[in-house]
Amino acid sequence: TASLSGEPSPTRSNICVNSKKKQMCFDWGPGEMLVCETSFNKKEKPEMVPNCPFIYIIRKDVDVYSQILRKLFNESHGIFVGLQRIEEELTGKSRKAQLVRVSKNYRSVIRACMEEMHQVAIAAKDPASGRQFSSQVSILSAMELIWNLCEILFIEVAPAGPLLLHLLDWVRLHVCEVDSLSADVLGSENPSKHENFWNLVTVLVLQGRLDEARQMLSKEADTSPTSAGMCRILGDLMRTMPILSPGNTQTLTELELKWQHWHEECERHLQDGTFAASPHLESLCKIMLGDEAALLEQKELLSNWYHFLVTRLLYSHPTVKPIDLHIYAQSSLDLFLGGESSPEPLDNILMAAFEFDIHQVIKECSIALSNWWFVAHLTDLLDHCKLLQSHNLYFGSNMREFLLLEYASGLFAHHSLWQLGVDYFDYCPKLGRVSLELHIERIPLNTEQKALKVLRICEQRQMTEQVRSICKILAMKAVRNNRLGSALSWSIRAKDAAFATLVSDRFLRDYCERGCFSDLDLIDNLGPAMMLSDRLTFLGKYREFHRLYGEKRFVDAASLLLSLMTSQIAPRSFWMTLLTDALPLLEQKQVIFSAEQTYELMRCLEDLTSGRPEHGEPDAQQLQDDDIETTKVEMLRLALARNLAGAIIREGSLEGS
């Protein structure tokens, strides 16, 4: 007598325990939810009995219920399945290229989701839901940021040189205020007089977008002739900065040498006070020299420590090795926060990545993020990069499988997303199969079409037990609904002989009551399925007898009828009906049953009548029934005797002739 309030949203709800009753228990319900007893009544239904406890359902994975995140789950499912099918033999460069492409596909899905969520947040009517969507946007954005860094460090495995180029792209992608700033400034009448002009130039330099910065400087040079010379010199420094271009064949040492030379030139200009007249230009020059103090002055424009890190590397250690990254990362974090604030979860995750500690990244992400989607997919991808081989968990499966199982279980808890979960279970070699078996049986089957989909999943995986149980459920349902034909079909599909017998009996009973068969379209077309159970065989054969009789093929009908009894296929309880069916055949003008067949029929009748148990005190109804029975038996005996006589004469005359 407990009431269920199954709202999908509450992760935490007030649980009020009646302390007098000293009852407090909870349990994990089916599919990722905690069920607990409470006397706290949220809906305040007056008709409820006051003493009746309530059960609260607390769901774990709320993100599954977001309409927009559903797109993420569905779209990434396709990528996931594609990734599992990547040929194992594929090695070296082509394999890596494939994996990078998969990673980029995942990220593009995250970005698409983020953009849509952003649109919804803007369009949201009430501020509360607007805030909720905005916070989702920032979570998605953080996910993409982390994923992108992991892609550079773990999947691309970029070496010194290209590593920095990737990191620059990473920062440019994620600190993107510069684009709106640029549009703002360039759209104004006189860009170089715009209040944000120097901010824009600075940001462009901070992000290493030196060509664009140079163009801006030329605008400044055009409008203020006094600084034109300085702008030209700084512009030249920007132009001559040696960078590694993808197509270039120069070695890292060559680059380092050139870079050193360029760096010294910048240093010289600063020492000579070339830009002393313009604090803006001087500060830009200091940034290009990688001056920490000058960089930290731009905290506002850098907006976060990892931008600071990348800019710092660009202008002081352009050929940083992956192994040294974490040293610079740590010091950048410390310098940037300056002891004023402590690192947040995102900072810790990025730091762990810079330290190449994959397990720490995944662990921190699992704690910080509200869903399993991210860690499950990222871990799986990293596992395909053969980065997690050695790590086994103490409870039987490895980390990849553990996270995939968690994610898939969350999907199965959802009313609709369960279909996606199946493929994830498929790719969990240790516990996937049993998990699927447990979950698939809990899918409610409200239509046959849904049942067919579930059956298909089970049949493809040879889950015979589940196939049987689903078919049985459907067969039972059909019997309850008086749909005997359907019930029989389902028990044939399940190869469930016992249930087929039960349904066949129902058919025979209906026949005895009504004197005609229902569902002839099915019974006439049983084919080999008829062999499933003796009773079903009998049903099919008995119907065949009726058809033969209807077609006036009396001889065939007669021998079929007799064989039903002699072969013991017909249940004893049905013999009297069969013998009665023989009556019209016995009364035909020509002899149909041979003498031998007649003897057999007689023996069947005697077997039946002698085997009858004696009743105690018969009531009126039974007396009447017995009366009819006796009449029937007497009629049969008479008919049999007459037929025997006819048969003997006929057979005798045939022999004689």
């Binding site: 999908p8 309409q67 927009i68 559903r70 797109k71 569905n74 779209e75 499912h77 396709g78 990528i79 399945v81 594609g82 990734l83 099918r85 990547i86 494939q98 492409r101 596909n105 593009s108 899905v109 698409a112 009313h415 609709s416 279909q419 996606l420 409200n446 239509t447 046959e448 079409q449 849904k450 067919l452 989909k453 298909r456 493809q460 309850r480 609904n481 008086n482 749909r483 005997l484 034909g485 359907s486 079909s489 229902s518 569902d519 002839l520 379209d521 099915l522 077309n525 084919g527 080999p528 399925a529």
Partner: protein, 379 residues
Amino acid sequence: MEEIYAKFVSQKISKTRWRPVPPGSLQTAETFVTGSWDNEENYVSLWSMGDFGNLDSDGGFEGDPQLLCDIRHHGDVMDLQFFDQERIVAASSTGCVTIFLHHPNNQTLSVNQQWTTAHYHTGPGSPSYSSAPCTGIVCNNPEIVTVGEDGRINLFRADHKEAVRTIDNADSSTLHAVTFLRTPEILTVNSIGQLKIWDFRQQGNEPSQILSLTGDRVPLHCVDRHPNQQHVVATGGQDGMLSIWDVRQGTMPVSLLKAHEAEMWEVHFHPSNPDHLFTCSEDGSLWHWDASTDVPEKSSLFHQGGRTSTFLSHSISNQANVHQSLISSWLTDPAKDRIEITSLLPNRTLSVNSLDVLGPCLVCGTDAEAIYVTRQLFS
């Protein structure tokens, strides 16, 4: 090259149908309706491919369907048909049949008419009836024929509150789909592999003809009639086989074509180009069968459509068409002894539950919560 656009819609799509273009009109189809299933709340939604002013001629967002309006639907949407330009008939897993009316002025959908207990069971255990899913509908203004898991056939008229004709226990097993043969004759397929022809002029509960697959009684899930040759009928089965029948002769299919690896959910002859046929399946594939071409080389080998691992999320251009041919045909005409099959979706997804073709336009919906649309079918 065919461009197929994918759009993720956050609901599993059970049915997709193009709105018919007005007779005599030359415009291509623009609006389609979708129905969802297995969600906590299901919807009938109307989408438009039309221009919204801000598009460039190079495509851009040309292929992106925009939601016009939607309306809650009680239960899974089991089937959808356009009754006319404005009205849509929906079949529900609750046994209800609803006519929705589209108001183009304010872009809303409303319930126009409803038969709440069109399909129901009368069980021995239950004193009253319990609902039975309505599995299929077919419309021919003003008539609507519905079939269901209860084996019942209903004939409704849009202006009548009660069914005009009901055949109780028309089938001992589940009826999966229905289509008109020649009015007033209809065709039904059931879960024991039978094709039955019913004539509403005849009284009684017996079909006028039964055709069936031999042996294994493989359930049939869908049926479509050739638009010009009314005796030619295509059905799709649980084993993914495509069967072609000539209902004038014989009780067995004329040809059986090995097709999908799982249930074939829908089969459609192209309405104006019936040498082309389209099928979709639980195995996640969507096929275009072309019996009009002459392929020079002979090949009796038929293998499965490409399993490319690429996944392009928003605009998918299907470059890797899979061309295979097999020696067979859906007509007895000996000239057509070959059919070219093209897989239209770039990679396997979850079940493709429904498809519809009209002119150069095709729309399909999947359990992966995506709808795919192309408007250049034959280019």
